[in-house]
Symmetry: C3
Subunit: 138 residues, 3 copies
Amino acid sequence: MRQDAAILEFRTPGCGLIDITGEVSRWVRDSGIALGMLTLFCRHTSASLLINENAAPAVRRDLIRWLGRIAPEGDGYEHDDEGPDDMPAHIKAMLTGNSLTIPVSGGQLLLGTWQGIFLAEHRDRPHNRTVASHILGE
Amino acid sequence: MRQDAAILEFRTPGCGLIDITGEVSRWVRDSGIALGMLTLFCRHTSASLLINENAAPAVRRDLIRWLGRIAPEGDGYEHDDEGPDDMPAHIKAMLTGNSLTIPVSGGQLLLGTWQGIFLAEHRDRPHNRTVASHILGE
Amino acid sequence: MRQDAAILEFRTPGCGLIDITGEVSRWVRDSGIALGMLTLFCRHTSASLLINENAAPAVRRDLIRWLGRIAPEGDGYEHDDEGPDDMPAHIKAMLTGNSLTIPVSGGQLLLGTWQGIFLAEHRDRPHNRTVASHILGE
């Protein structure tokens, strides 16, 4: 049994879901661990990680629009000194969560056919985001 | 330290919370691992996994009804070619999450007294669902 | 590779976010594991665990207020025999989740600069809450 760890870095283009499945899958393969468990951890409070449908881009747009409706800007927040998109971003990060755990078998993530891993950027502007990646297995 | 893994299969009767605590607990016990950590991973984007109260069935019905109100059908989604219950199901899966990590001690899941593990089916019709299960420990 | 486990106990003062980062960090350091993965698991269905901004207390108040608006008391729930704050608490626990997985490096949690770990109490009254803690690594 052994482990491997890294900090993965991503540049987001602003609010939206960024597909990071390819980069994560490559890192898992390069670890050389065939059977085990991957943890991804987003080190931010206005971005998050989620798994959702990887085929239709309309699904991703609907998810982002729905989050924008459920946690709108200018909704009477007490905390508003970092811009109108800041407090909604914290709410969206809370709702979607910042860690994922995914079993690995045959050196591959056990994702379903339609599942992709997304880094969710909840701020309007582009940001540099870091995701701590950890794998345990053999 | 060692690990075990399996794909658990469930048939859902349509939208609702299906209690899978018994099946998961048996799998953990059969693994022979006394102290460790279990990961459950739902391999779908319109079903999810969650832990909630295991006693009153009314709680489960209220949770499902609340999700139906927060992400209603016919709410102007761009993605609607797989039926009116499809995009709401993706939103509900995003909100509730598709992985769970549960510590194991004495060969048993460290669930609280009132906690059950539920597979949440968010589509109207019955589906076959798979959950990747992974345990690490000794 | 080795593991350590404990049940951490907290007294909550009623509805709100309780910062448990210090207590969890000390436990991780005391485990003596330098590189690995921590799992925290809240053993309740009306309290939960989340990671969010650790600096501005206004953010925490806004998060709690937002949860109160999205899952209000007296919203026609079928399950209401444990008080008006009970069913909203189950909904909030479902939304925010009850487990966290956090990579550890150099004996420290790989939290981002602005991230704190919070025990979210969703009931009005003070409660005793237990969090199962598990670390795996070397």
